[in-house]
Symmetry: C2
Subunit: 201 residues, 2 copies
Amino acid sequence: MKFSPLVQELIESFKCLPGVGGKTAQRMAFHLLERNRQGGTKLATTLNKAMENIGHCQKCRNFTEQTLCEICESPRRQQSKLLCVVENPADVIAIEQTGEFQGRYFILMGHLSPIDGIGPDDLGLDLLENELNQGQVKEVILATNPTVEGEATAHFIAEMAHSMDVNISRIAHGVPVGGELEYVDGNTLSHALTGRKNYQV
Amino acid sequence: MKFSPLVQELIESFKCLPGVGGKTAQRMAFHLLERNRQGGTKLATTLNKAMENIGHCQKCRNFTEQTLCEICESPRRQQSKLLCVVENPADVIAIEQTGEFQGRYFILMGHLSPIDGIGPDDLGLDLLENELNQGQVKEVILATNPTVEGEATAHFIAEMAHSMDVNISRIAHGVPVGGELEYVDGNTLSHALTGRKNYQV
Ligand SMILES: [Zn+2]
Ligand SMILES: [Zn+2]
């Protein structure tokens, strides 16, 4: 005995979402059926439209339904000659929210991971190399995550850009602002010590 | 700065799912866009079909795309004259998996909850009363959850069925089979003691 065929099919379909197993899929199906059919129909329509129309920006690889994303289309951003390399679209949002950065981005959509078979081409590094070769970028800021994979990816890109006429920088790692030393992990603390700067009086 | 309009719309749409907030919605959107467009499109199609075609069984209220569900359509189930009242469709599956029960079900799709404005009519109790009045049921088994709301709902139905010519029973509560006493909560244990039975030698 199972649910009716269409209910069963709906539950199965939800399992394509990350972190959603049988129980959660069931809860989602019943919730929409029982309490929010309108929301379910809206999700179906948007999902369909999104899967069909969202592609990658031809310059930065971010998700967009246009050929170029809003940031890449801005002449002001282009003129800054700064290019910030991040792993994910969400990183772009995080950096944009600081209001500190006025350059462009390059989104890897992941990091190098030989175990998962993710190599330079999967991260669009050929596209990045191309971009750097065109001489319109004067500094590449490596803002990949401070993880083993993120560091390895940053290192790989730095090596690649080394021979080109471009500055390469890495975002600073250290004690989070507002954090208390005793709660900061050892690795971060050792980064903070190694990366210490002269105190300006 | 936000994501592109369609990406943003997709993220928002996922928030109609229970337990899905901003971060999870974002992860779902990116996962489908990056790794599983086929799954996303399939989900959209099924969701659309499901929201449009799945209704409630006219006898037991379970979800089905037919007028009557498979169980209610079975003459053998009807002949048993047993009706098991449960809160959710998932409870039906759980009971069916035991293979112990050959009767029909009535699914409340919730429990009485005055705070949330859920009263007898929202649980289809008029439909249940109707069914019991037809004299085709000889025993109603109350299998609502052993929670405060579930007990209150069982009590309400028992009162309603009291005047009719029908037996009313409640599923047994006690120590789960295979469980160890020391890990059983006090409430269950006190139920198990109160509901003790003569030991058959
Ligand atoms: Zn772009
Ligand atoms: Zn039915």
